[in-house]
Symmetry: D2
Subunit: 434 residues, 4 copies
């Protein structure tokens, strides 16, 4: 997030960059095309935002941080949108209460789409006229806008899944899921020797969020990482062993929570007519897929399972060191990335790979044992975009990897995702360490 970020791997002409911009933005339209105005309106809990709001907010980001400062002649589409579509930037002024985003019936969906078209056209014009030097100066903000768009693509999927699940008859987002042909394998362990390791994002010109920097050293002991994530089938054993009724496995806060809320299984699990577990998916309610990674669990549930299994979750440093050690970024497995290939649910790990743990960059975000704290020497970016990460560095836990709903091109082994330990609507599962 500094002036030295060159990002020379990116398109270096405005018109080439315009193509990149257009591709990323189009993905949002693709994901939401099948949703009705009603589907896009609803906020099913305060954590969730309406689809329509996501589409407006990501557009507002480009309007506010690129077009308005850079183009004096830019015509603002609707001045009220600054209030409606600001998410949390205190420096940009007052805004719609988060929990009341679902009350905004006007603008309607078609007006939001017109807003997107207006901003996209203005940005295409702007990029076309940009010199290479001007592009260089704006690259970080442009990339931030696109990565931000990609984050909201995953949020759109998380949120609409929750919205649809609250419809009493579990309607589907799409007719059916593509068939997955993988089974899974018996879990085994990969050893990593202890030592002093470097983690975090090197200042190498590639895009990164500020929270991944600076790179720094950590000391680790010897540890082992599981060859794959815990599966639905394994998690079911925990459930059937009374896992949700035995305090000894739970953090005190987690135990209070599951009893207060009556949790007895992951978020979208539900018993079918015969008393078997089924799960709500984008294709409606389906039988539980035993070989697939368990998903939509909170940190508390992940940690309780680990305690029941006599192991633990990895720290984020361990996860990243292992990912580097086994070069997982160079080993995309067949089938991934899911969003690109059409899978919007985690799929089984398949046969054992003797070389490296599987699924570290797809399927489910993996809860770690690490609280979301600033790296030593962390500096938030200056200005309003400095509110992007730093002010959330309390009360949340780090998740690593990526999920079946993460946008293509949005994965990095240094990526630090974060959620509160009680949140289950992300595509979150976990992997054991020992």
């Amino acid at each position: 997030m500094t002036a030295t970020v060159s990002q020379s791997y990116l398109p270096n002409s405005g018109s080439a960059y315009a193509r990149r911009y257009s591709e990323v933005r189009a993905q949002s339209a693709t994901l939401t095309a099948r949703l009705s105005p009603e589907d896009q309106q609803v906020q099913s809990m305060p954590d969730v935002s309406p689809t329509k709001w996501h589409l407006g907010h990501t557009t507002w980001f480009f309007e506010t941080f690129i077009l308005r400062p850079q183009r004096p002649d830019y015509r603002v589409f609707d001045s009220s949108f600054n209030y409606l579509f600001n998410s949390y930037y205190e420096a940009v002024g007052p805004r719609q209460l988060r929990a009341e985003r679902g009350l905004i019936t006007r603008p309607a969906q078609d007006e939001v789409l017109a807003y997107r078209a207006h901003v996209d056209a203005a940005l295409a014009d702007f990029l076309d006229e940009l010199t290479a030097g001007e592009l260089e100066d704006l690259r970080y903000l442009l990339e931030l806008g696109l990565h931000h768009e990609q984050q909201h693509q995953e949020l759109i999927l998380m949120d609409i899944k929750h919205v649809l699940s609250r419809n009493p008859f579990g309607p589907s987002y799409r007719k059916k899921e593509p068939a997955a042909v993988y089974g899974t394998h018996a879990l085994h362990w990969f050893d990593v020797p202890g030592g002093v390791y470097r983690i975090g994002h090197a200042d190498d010109g590639h895009f990164t969020f500020d929270n991944e920097m600076p790179a720094h050293e950590v000391v680790l002991g010897d540890f082992a990482l599981a060859s794959r994530c815990v599966t639905n089938g394994e998690y079911l054993e925990f459930v059937e062993d009374g896992g949700y009724k035995r305090a000894e496995f739970w953090h005190s806060d987690g135990w209070a929570l599951i009893n207060r809320e009556g949790w007895r299984a992951p978020l979208y699990w539900q018993p079918d007519k015969n008393g078997n577990w089924a799960e709500f998916t984008f294709a409606g309610v389906c039988p539980l897929y035993h070989d697939a990674p368990v998903c939509h669990v909170s940190f508390y549930e992940a940690a309780a399972y680990a305690a029941w299994a006599g192991t633990r979750l990895p720290t984020e440093a361990e996860w990243e060191v292992a990912a580097r050690h086994f070069e997982v970024a160079r080993r995309p497995r067949a089938g991934a990335n899911q969003m690109a290939s059409g899978y919007l649910r985690p799929i089984p790990a398949g046969e054992a790979d003797p070389e490296a743990p599987q699924g570290m960059l797809g399927d489910v975000w993996e809860w770690t044992e690490s609280a979301y704290s600033p790296y030593p020497g962390f500096q938030a970016a200056p200005g309003a975009v400095g509110e992007y990460n730093g002010k959330f560095m309390i009360n949340q836990m780090v998740l690593r990897g990526a999920s079946c709903a993460t946008a293509p091109g949005h994965t990095r082994i240094t990526y630090r995702n974060f959620f509160y330990p009680h949140q289950r609507w992300p595509f979150a599962g976990f992997r054991l360490a020992a």
Copy 2:
């Protein structure tokens, strides 16, 4: 609500009745035609239901209580709708939680309209084939269905007004209100002598809800009723005299409420840029209309104003006796009924009428000092429709009259409307007694 209700004033052939049915139902379509799918989706507070839900629920009423029992060959449109559109009939089975009606994105608006068309067609067929005798037997249920539809027409207006008001930029339901040419007059009093009076709905064959029966005697002392409702201008004097800051005028529960909620004026009043009071209306935010009846106040506010003014509210018996005494049902004033003539806000009372109080059957529902209790000898109707009124006879206050949003043909001087004393989203104002 007994077998002796003949309702001979109603159409006595099926096909004639089909026209009546069609006219009432069409009014719902007219009221909602200008609302987008998004507008019709939102539930802005638990008391409010989405427009789409109202359209479905009133249709469900005819399907459930007429078509299903009467027509063995009737094809149910969608069996899941029994769950979605049951409001509170415990006897008809489980149902969507009231506070979660806004989560139902499926069926979409167009499916609900198709549901209406399906039921309307089946009912038209059914009515066409009905003999006069069969019609006679079903008249009470049919009329109940239509009066129920009319009640929901007013609820649709109450609810959408609240929904639109929660949009931060106060969008309008329609471009503008028709111009009203009335001023008001200095309040004067109409005396009614004390004595034993009969109130309630006589068992005379005209439609009535069960809660208006049986007719019975009450003893009243001498009293006087105001010539018109309290106006915005008068209420503003109360506000400016510190009415919301002086405990001595308030019920204890009301005082706690207005301080907890920070109420300082009626629901839709808001200061404009210059610090003058404006009000949110169906035509957007307008300057406060001083001569019009104050509207969207709670019982607590009505009672506090009365205490400040050194008077009181009438009881429901006083209201009804006065309405009979001055034959207000025979004196519709020009301009009313508002829904028919296009006014969707209360309008000023105009010049003094020496013969009778004005506006008792229009403009605003009038809070009374009477708790909503069963009349002596009250019997709820048998079966599920018996849940229509009786089970709500606690904690609520009676309002009398009708409002600018009440459907044409839905007013009676025996009509007992009821709301909780804190509710302000009805079109409710008040008239003083002494």
Copy 3:
């Protein structure tokens, strides 16, 4: 509450009045003597006040409304007590939040007793010096203070019963209850003919609260009143018949409440080790006393029982007319008044009395179907004591009669007690009407 109240039945010399004062005040000391400082400190729910607070508050009443205005040389015991012990008199200034009375650890119990002694001594001096004329002028306020003290004696018992019940091992207020030798009788009905009746407190010089006035006429139809209150045994039949699981008997608000709170029986009922019902009493947990009136039920439960039994509750007018008709005030039954004779729980009605319904002025307050509203022509007393009743006339229901915890000399057939329909900690039961 007017100047014409002569109350000539009361002591007409200051020193004689001083004895009356001292007797009433001593009863408070007797009731609380067995309670530890800890028992007297706790507020187990917002409705409950600590015993210590009651003892201070009733004393503050005499200090504030008699001594301070009448005795310029009176030395205020502690000026901070005006804040601590004001209950709800807005006109007397700010005060401790009701829900935080239990936080007041200072003054300790012994200081509160010293406060009582200080005020009692000052009042004794004051009364001794009073001329008959001066006494006449002050009688209403003095009597109001004593009746207020008596009301708080009942509140002390209601509240400490709740406090002790929240101790997990159900400690007792006293070792045991006196043995009651009564059985009960099969319920029969007393008919009262319809007509125009006068109810309310005649302005006859005897003490009354302002809410019992003015006397006024009502029209009643023929009705019948039950010979006794519903018993624990009868109520148990309702429970065992699924009364708490069948929506058809309940008001909508009541049904929501019992499900939200998980109510399945009256407040202090609890299953014993063998699955039989027991009840928490002042003598600890005892087997359920089947013949005694059911007690500690809410209005909702009373009304649901009546619906289950196919009858209803009486209105307050019916209750009072019947009490007058059968002259129940002249027929105190043996055993009553309980507080005087040592029974602090409702006792069985005994054998049938062919002349009059039994237990109308003792055992349990009887819920009526009447909302607590002002009588026609009601005027609150002027000044701060005018806040005594009027501002509570909303959302509450009237109870008639008296209970086993009502102070001797504090019963009248015109007495209007009132509670919210959900409250169960009063000694409240009910009697059927038809």
Copy 4:
């Protein structure tokens, strides 16, 4: 917490150990002697426990974990106390809800003191008869019981300060505080070179809680630590600079919290009649002591101050490494330990010490930037006492050092105290790092 903990520095005969036991236990009695039964009864918020409960609970710990397992002939004082005085040990059975500890009026204070005497006598007998070998085996549990008692001594002070503060007239715990003669000095910095350091408690036979182990290596960069904690005077500058009104300094959760709760200053600060800040202390309300460390601030407030000052809080590793580096454990300053010397409020740091930072083991617990997580290789102790620490390792932040309310002999530089980031009733302040 392993079998190898020899703790040979402790008394090695039972009778000598009995003296240690008696001294620690007596300190609890001394601290509470001035509190009335009422003071000891109240729970002013769910975080707070009544004094009486603390006295019972610490006694229950010895009874449950020492006497009952070790002495078959031990007579349990009252079997109901296992329910009442269990804090959170799921393995020991059900227990009184934490938020309802204030409802326990029975046992009264004198019974709790009798319980303490009973257990103390039994334990004295037991210790007297113990062989050195038996003592060796039990030492860890005995020490755990005493350290637990000392923790509750600090909790007693935290809690009673909160209870007394909620009394509207701010009563005092004692007449006055001893005079403190210290001023403070201009803040300067102590540099610590980066490197690989060892932190945590070495397994050296001295007592430690399980959460301080195992010792392990960390990598630190160069850093500097402030010579003293931030003072009231410095914090006041932040307040007066609009610190509580400027979002840019706050974590998002903290900003939401201070606005929801209306926080504008540390917990016990309050304006006096002249608008100057005063603070509630154990000696009542006193003028703000500008030179003393600020106390009773939440983590959010500490972090916001640091952001305002352009610095940060130390991590717990930095704090411990600095404490070791400057050998602060060997440099007790005059005046400390406060509890021993009678100061129950933080006192100024005094003149600058060129050798080491001041006040690291007294005055206030110091918030760090570190979330409370398990050390690498952490193992909870087996059995019920394993619930002592591990299950709380989520959502809380580590505080280091000790406070003016920490018991003598209860400080260690490896000590990890922890609270939720919103909690302010601990004696918590902070020290800056850079």
